[in-house]
Every structure is written in structure tokens, then in C-alpha cells.
Subunit: 312 residues, 2 copies
């Protein structure tokens, strides 16, 4: 924790969680409290250079807002999707924004004159859930975000592992159904192609031969007793349980924190998922399966935590 | 590294690698050189208590042998299979030896009067390959042992990750073929049930309706052009590539070191395995795939390294 210089305002971190469609932005106190929040469209269709400009403008605006409110911005933290080299501060690759080797940390630090940290969106989300949310006080956590895509962060002792090239935790791209539906990455049978919210909507729509339906709508129809919706939902749950069982075999965690849009289904997801995971556990210890606690603020909070860590 | 007390002999570590059928034992210098090696049958059929007695007797004998040779035993390291709680020094569970919560570290330390470390056989093997063998100078390594079973050790910065309950790295028990052959663990379709040496022998024998054939014999017949053997070999290679691709998606390593009996097939394994893995890599970086360099000495060397680490 960093104290404000004498005679200045309370310290805050400028935090941005950059997604494919929107940016969640906040001023966060070192204790994790959000003192101001705002959202902006990412505007990815304008190309990565324009997105970088927006990120820098928004970050600068937030630092200015902090000062105007009598606060002292002490650092900036940014979470972005794709492959992220945390150590070098580079957004290496992103499918939905188009980043290719963007030195976003140094660009931001230069514009703001503040120490800046760059991290992966799901890894910083996992960091926040592990330090402030559903995985608090747990040594070995797997944070799994199930939304449009599926990705995970393995957090051990409060640090998320990035891997050798910033690409660890790609749970969405493990094989669960050989010869199954083709994934956006190009391979058939990836977990993301069966159990993500978008895959659930697509699968139901395909079988019902109707208009495109969301995963939330499939969940609602399944809850109302519609057989087809129930079947599609269970298929997704079974494949997700296969993926979590594989992750447990490799990581051996105590707790799995499930976040992202699909986790909003609550007991409708967690009850059958726990049962399916239990069926698949043989000699391993069954991990505790809990819902994420921080909602879509996790990314911003985690980006702030990463920035605070980098000050130490 | 630890220096010998003044006026005494060169320091050595008493190292044991306890397997289901045999124990590899050695006196190892702090620089990794083996100055004496011996083997003993494990005698697992006598039950775990008798195996523990043998381990203690053999370790004591090695310490005595060291002293008789003018060397100074400074520590003892033991690698065992199954679930191992490294931190507590307890052999928690083993299917082939029958260990159930055996405090092997403290038992050995008490008998020998030497600081003792206990580790998992594959994790200590990975430690040795990463510090002294094929994964030297690589930050992120996955060591994969493919023999009777399949298991892996994820070694980052020279340390193997054990997980929350000493059960990380169980690559043999990830799902690769839903509805496939039943694994020893009870689940159908585990990697070990398709790609281990024992699974290859079993599968060929089943299809050929003949006498039981080993994986080495299947490899030899495939090399000689026998179609059935070639098909069984390729099926195993394909499933192994699926398993390695899943591991890469989750761990993101630079190098995968393949050891165990199957790696002795050399190019007959590595050429098609590299090709199959390359086909499966989409946006991830392809890991370097290399053969283990230390052979079956890896376990002993790793147990010694673990013991030396614990002295620090």
C-alpha cells in the first residue's frame, strides 16, 4: 500500500478493463474500494490504433477527474484480452480488438506520467476474485470466465500464472469433443465451441431451426421445462464438467471460481455442474465450485491490484 | 550447495527413487554427479509397511556406504509415486505401493539423523531434467513421463508445482476420448488408457487376438511395416498429441520433455508426435518437443536436488 504524499489527497489507481465491445473504467482506492466508475465503447471496428488512442484518452481523463476531486492518482492498471506479455507490458495479440505487439504499458505510462501495469483481462479478474472476492484466503484457485468465450486464470498464492508467452489458462481451447463443433480458433471440439454462452445459443438455434436465441433464453426455456432447451443446456454442462475435471487433474486447486455471463444462471448452472464434476472425479480431490462474487467489476479491480503490486 | 565440514569427506546426498517394482538408489554429489548407484526390488506385494522398512534399511545402508567410502552424507531425498504432500513430507496415496498417509520424510530423517526431503517421482524427475537434463536453462517446462502410466510435472523457474493436495500434473487422467477405453482410475477415455505403453500393448493384443505384446514390440512391428501395429501406434500418438495440446493451452510452456519407456522409441515417436501436435496448435505457440536426457536416473537425481533445495 502506498500513502499519499503529505498535503495531497487520498491515493487512487486509474483502472481500465478493455473488452471487445466496452471498456469498464474506475478510480480504485488501495483497499479495493471503487470511488468512481465509468464506461466507454471500445470501438474495435475503428482498428487497434484508434482503440489505443481511446484507452490513453480515457486513462488521462480519469487521472484528471481524480485530481479535480482532490484525489492523487498513483498508478494505472489496464487489463486487455488476448495474449498479453505482462512482464514486457505488451498486448501481443487479440482476436477481437486486433492488437499486434502494442507496448500499451509504456505508452500509457508516458502519457499519464504514472507507473503503469498491463495484464490479461481474465488473469486480473482472477487476481481480484482471489484477493477480494469468492476465492479469498484460498491458496490455489482456478478462476473460470464463461461468456462469449471461455478462459481461465490459475492463481497461486495471490499471483496469476501467465505462462511462457502470456498464453496460459486457455481453458476454452482444450479438446473435449473430438470431431465436435468447430471453434473460432479453427479446431473442432474445443470446450468453448460447446459450453460458452455463444455456443449454447448457436446450438439451440441450430436444433430448433428458429431465430437466434441467447444462452440466457435457453436457460429460461430449460427452466420452464422445454425439453430441447434442457438437452442443450445439459450438453454444455457436461462438456464444461469435462473441461473442469481436466483442469483439476493438471492444476489440483482447492476452489474453482466460475464467473462470466453463464454464471448468472446461478443454481441452474451450479447444481448440475457440481453433480457432473463429482461423477468425473476419481482419485483427485473435488474442488469447491463457487460463483464469482465481484461481477463485472472484477477486471477493473484486478487491474488496480496489478498496478499496486507493480509499485512494490 | 553445501560444503563438507572441515576435515571430513566430500558431501553426498542419499537419493532413492521408489517405483512400483524397483527402487533406484544412489549417492549423488551436490553438482549432480552420481558416485554410487544400486537397485533393489520394491516388493510392493508385501504391503506398504514392509516397503517403508525396506526404504529405511536401504537409505541407512547407503548412508553407511558413503561413510565407509570416506564421504559425508549431508541429506536424504526420496521420490515416490502417487499423491505426495511435499510440504508435509507425507506419501498420501499410491495405487501401486498402497501408501496411505505415510510420514516418510520424518521416519527417514529420524532413522538416518539427516535432513530429508520427500517428493513425487515425476515431479523430481522433471526437476532433474530441467536443471541437469533436456530442459536446462528453460523457464517453463512440462516434463511428461509416458510408461506404464502417464504423468507430468510443470516446472517453472526450476520448481515443480505440486498443487493444493500434491496431485497436480496428472496428465494421464485427462479426457481425450469420450466413451473410450476404461482407465485404471475408473473413467473411460483418459489419455493413459490410450497412449501409455501398457495401453498400446493391450490395444494391439485385443485387435490381433493374439498373445500379449509390449508397446516396444508394437513399435518394432510398426517400423517393419505391419499395418495393424502402425494403426495402433498412430492412434496412441494422436491421443498423446491431443493431451499435449491441452497441456499447452493451460500451461503455455516453452519446452516439453518427453521421458519414460515410450520415449525410447526415438524418432518413431517424436516425428509423428511433433507433426500431430503442430496440426493441433492454432493461436498458441508450439512448444519445443524433446526427449528426456537423463534416462531412468532422473528420479534419483531429482530426489537429490530436492534434498539439497531443502537445506537452503
Amino acid at each position: 500500500m502506498t500513502d499519499a504524499p503529505a498535503g495531497r489527497g487520498e491515493p487512487v489507481v486509474v483502472a481500465l478493463d478493455v473488452g471487445g465491445t466496452g471498456m469498464k473504467c474506475a478510480l480504485v482506492r488501495p483497499d479495493g474500494e471503487v470511488v468512481h466508475a465509468e464506461r466507454h465503447p471500445t470501438g474495435a471496428e475503428r482498428g487497434p490504433a484508434a482503440v489505443v488512442d481511446t484507452i490513453l484518452d480515457v486513462a488521462e481523463g480519469l487521472a484528471g477527474k481524480a485530481r479535480a476531486d482532490g484525489l492523487t492518482p498513483i498508478a494505472c492498471g489496464i487489463g486487455v484480452p488476448g495474449l498479453v506479455d505482462d512482464a514486457a507490458g505488451v498486448a501481443v495479440w487479440s482476436s477481437n480488438i486486433g492488437f499486434r505487439h502494442v507496448p500499451l504499458r509504456d505508452l500509457t505510462a508516458a502519457r499519464l506520467g504514472l507507473p503503469t501495469a498491463l495484464g490479461h483481462d481474465v488473469r486480473v479478474g482472477g487476481l481480484a476474485e482471489t484477493r477480494l472476492g469468492a476465492g479469498r484466503d484460498v491458496g490455489h484457485v482456478l478462476f473460470v470466465a464463461v461468456g462469449t468465450g471461455i478462459a481461465a486464470a490459475h492463481v497461486v498464492g495471490g499471483s496469476a500464472t501467465a505462462g511462457a508467452h502470456g498464453a496460459a489458462g486457455e481453458l476454452g481451447h482444450i479438446l473435449v469433443r473430438p470431431g465436435g463443433p468447430r471453434c473460432g480458433c479453427g479446431r473442432p471440439g474445443c470446450l468453448e465451441a460447446v459450453s460458452s454462452a455463444s455456443a449454447i445459443g448457436r446450438r439451440y438455434t441450430e436444433l430448433a431451426r428458429g431465430a437466434l436465441v441467447t444462452a440466457a433464453e435457453v436457460a429460461a426455456r430449460a427452466a420452464a421445462g422445454e425439453e430441447l432447451a434442457g438437452q442443450v443446456w445439459q450438453e454444455a454442462v457436461d462438456a464444461l464438467a469435462d473441461g473442469l475435471a481436466t483442469a483439476q487433474a493438471l492444476f489440483d486447486v482447492e476452489t474453482m471460481v466460475i464467473g462470466g455471463g453463464l454464471a448468472r444462471a446461478g443454481a441452474q448452472l451450479f447444481d448440475p455442474l457440481r453433480a457432473a464434476l463429482r461423477e468425473r472425479i476419481t482419485f483427485h480431490r473435488e474442488p469447491r465450485l463457487v460463483a464469482a462474487a465481484l461481477g463485472d467489476e472484477a477486471g477493473c479491480l484486478g487491474a488496480a491490484l496489478l498496478a499496486l503490486d507493480s509499485l512494490e
